[in-house]
Symmetry: none
Subunit: 241 residues, 2 copies
């Protein structure tokens, strides 16, 4: 019997350059039973006939793919965000091997709505996008020849997902829902506004780094809906001081 997959993740391809690669990713996904694909600014537009040519019949994935202008819209309804990255980054985001990362999500109760981000073919995800992730996924390949192409990485992720069948039953209900990315972003936007109001950013160049650090910090903590309400209350109190 095939493993039953509850709460399959959304695969998000960010600024993919070649339609062919999107098609091969769709095929790899459907081979492993994943069918939710989102695209952020695909270079050659969408729909894309070259994607269809390489999808080898995984048309349902392409037909249902959603396109977004900004990463925050693409992850807005997700509770956990993982990012595939090849390089060591100087970011305070926990890194996990692929199998561990999948295990962590699959074992979570209740299963969170999860997005997995994959960057452009040549450069991978930039730091601003990575700062939106709870976890960086590391693919433990051969250190002397480590580089997977996009469709290979998506295949391995999808495969590991399928192989890690979720635990039977054990539906432990956690009343405190994880915050969605939309809620987290709204909170960060409020802090940013407050900091603007108090001339915190002495020079404009400082701002992106500070905001990214704040985002990393809040995201890593994986705040619940209730905690975010509390943080909003604290912020309101501090501002009116």
């Amino acid at each position: 019997m095939p493993p039953s997959i509850s709460a399959p993740p959304v695969i998000i391809l960010v600024e993919t350059q070649m339609g062919e690669n999107i098609g091969m990713c769709a095929r790899a996904m459907l081979n492993c039973g994943l069918d939710q694909l989102r695209l952020v600014r695909p270079r050659d537009g969408w729909p894309n006939e070259k994607a269809r040519a390489t999808a080898a019949g995984a048309n349902i994935v392409l037909d249902n793919a959603k396109v977004y202008e900004h990463i925050d819209e693409a992850i807005g309804d997700c509770q956990r965000v993982l990012a595939a990255t090849a390089r060591q980054r100087n970011l305070r985001i926990p890194g996990l091997n692929l199998r561990e990362a999948v295990r962590e999500i699959v074992d979570a109760t209740p299963p969170p709505k999860t997005a997995i981000l994959f960057g452009p073919e040549a450069s991978g995800l930039d730091n601003d996008t990575l700062a939106r992730a709870d976890r960086l996924i590391h693919f433990p390949t051969n250190p002397d020849f480590p580089s997977l192409n996009l469709a290979q990485a998506v295949l391995l992720l999808s495969w590991e997902w399928r192989q890690s069948s979720p635990l039977e039953s054990a539906t432990i209900v956690n009343p405190d829902l994880p915050a969605t990315r939309e809620e987290t972003n709204a909170y960060l936007a409020r802090i940013e506004q407050a900091l603007d109001n108090s001339q915190f950013f002495l020079t404009p160049e400082r701002k992106p780094n500070i905001i990214r650090s704040l985002r990393t910090f809040v995201t890593r903590s994986n705040a619940s809906h209730k905690e975010l309400r509390m943080l909003h209350g604290v912020l309101t109190a501090l501002i009116k001081n």
Copy 2:
């Protein structure tokens, strides 16, 4: 430290049609640290420039590939032979899922010299070749869209091989020093003072719960020394607003 792979298997591609596919298999193998490739009657001859084009630099695998006229020569020095097959066959050869099949070999002592056979793109291995295998390897993909291409199958086999070796947890070490509890407490005390100043705690009973929630949130995020400095800066800006 990368996992050590003892007795890496030989990958044998039987009557592969397209050179491009041989190249992509070589890449996938080397990505996972396998480098012994054997070819039985490749349709377009050998060497093959199209294979080099898709190998993405895995030239060492192609350069060392050996070519054979008959499968029996290709597997002559091997102690175990496994065959990848998509379809159920009417053969009395035990079938195992990919992960189980790899596990069985990796756990064997002493490690046997092992060959894994992959058939031509269109038809797969014929029954005569399968009859030489100790085990048939089944890839448990989506039953509604099961068919992997050759390079996908070789990647998954190579990947499972690499993962089945005892793995170090590759949790990425971050050079940024974690904050001490003393530093975290000092920060929380400052927020508490600021909230007191703004009459945030309408009733004294509310205070311990809120402070505890804040502490949980900040602690769980495992802030670094540097991040705490940033959070202090933010707090200062908000207070003076």
